[in-house]
């Protein structure tokens, strides 16, 4: 898993270089945000130049990372008895991979809260290192744009969306989100398209929820 995170980090570093982010800016972003899709979206918005609204970026990050609300809520029964000075730093480093690993371990009977922290750090460090490696190596490529790096966010969204769709099988949500995106894209392209699609998708799931179908 760490190898996959490292490769993803390199991809982000390449894109950050194309968006003219400095090494310090890219590394700070990877450390503070630590979310692949959210960072790709942020960098893409920055790369379009102009005065991109910070608010739109923050909202897009909020929607892309809304799953972490669920993740951290699910960790409550495990980490709830630990002092806050241990749990909140642990949550800062939590990612998709480390959360899945942790929930599997918890199901097996693991009860040491340090496991969550260890698994999270084990994926956080490759992410930072990958970012740096990608950004440095991008400097050696003459014209990064020709390599299709602007397509990175779309490609990762499509690939990760496939996996998520396999778990959810929600055509209504997908169609509603796509329709919303196409309409909003005509009037306010960029970050707002993503925000609107995310909100509508969540709303559809909320309205269509049937208690009997709960897992």
């Amino acid at each position: 898993m760490a190898v996959g995170v490292f490769a993803y980090g390199i991809a982000f570093g390449l894109l950050a270089q194309e968006a003219r982010l400095s090494l310090a800016e890219a590394a700070t972003m990877s450390a503070l945000v630590y979310s692949g899709t959210a960072q790709l979206a942020t960098v893409s918005a920055l790369g379009t130049g102009a005065a991109t609204a910070t608010l739109a970026i923050a909202l897009a990050v909020l929607l892309l990372n809304a799953r972490y609300l669920l993740y951290s809520a699910a960790l409550r029964p495990w980490l709830g008895s630990l002092p806050a000075r241990q749990t909140y730093p642990t949550l800062f480093f939590m990612g998709d991979g480390s959360w899945v690993l942790s929930m599997q371990a918890h199901a097996r009977g693991e009860r040491d809260g340090g496991f969550v922290f260890g698994a999270s750090i084990a994926t956080f460090l490759p992410w930072i290192l990958g970012t740096l490696a990608g950004l440095v190596s991008a400097g050696l490529i003459a014209n990064p744009a020709a390599l299709g790096l602007d397509f990175m966010l779309v490609a990762f969204s499509a690939a990760m969306g496939l996996g998520m769709f396999k778990l959810q099988r929600s055509w209504s949500g997908v169609i509603a989100a796509a329709a919303t995106a196409l309409v909003v894209d005509r009037f306010a392209p960029g970050g707002w398209t993503i925000v609107a699609a995310g909100l509508v998708g969540g709303l559809v799931a909320y309205l269509r929820f049937k208690p009997t179908s709960a897992a």
């Binding site: 979310s35 920055l46 609300l69 809520a73 690939a159 699609a197 969540g202």
Partner: protein
């Protein structure tokens, strides 16, 4: 190697929102139990966001980009790995653009 002020604003905002997402679910569970209905909405949001990213690109109908999306789907299905699938798509779009000019 320095950080520009306007970028720093974005970084701090995005970082703060990210940490909020990581911490808030845990914090809220202390007071408000997340209902299954709310949970279903939260779980559906990331997929909808990803659809929102891809749909305008598909509507634009650029042949190289459409073909590359097809490559992403096939590569992800074959390898079962989304990072491999995405990078195959980026490579495909780069190659196709070079080919079509």
């Amino acid at each position: 190697m320095n950080i520009r002020p306007e970028i720093l604003t974005v970084l701090l905002a995005a970082g703060a929102v990210s940490f909020f997402c990581r911490a808030a679910g845990f914090f809220l569970m202390r007071y408000v139990p997340i209902t299954p209905r709310l949970e279903a909405a939260l779980r559906a949001t990331p997929l909808a966001v990803m659809v929102g990213i891809c749909a305008p690109v598909m509507a634009r109908g650029n042949p190289a980009e459409l073909a590359a999306l097809g490559v992403v789907v096939i590569a992800t299905k074959l390898t079962g790995n989304d990072v491999v699938g995405a990078l195959a798509g980026v490579a495909a779009v780069a190659g196709l653009r070079a080919f079509f000019g």
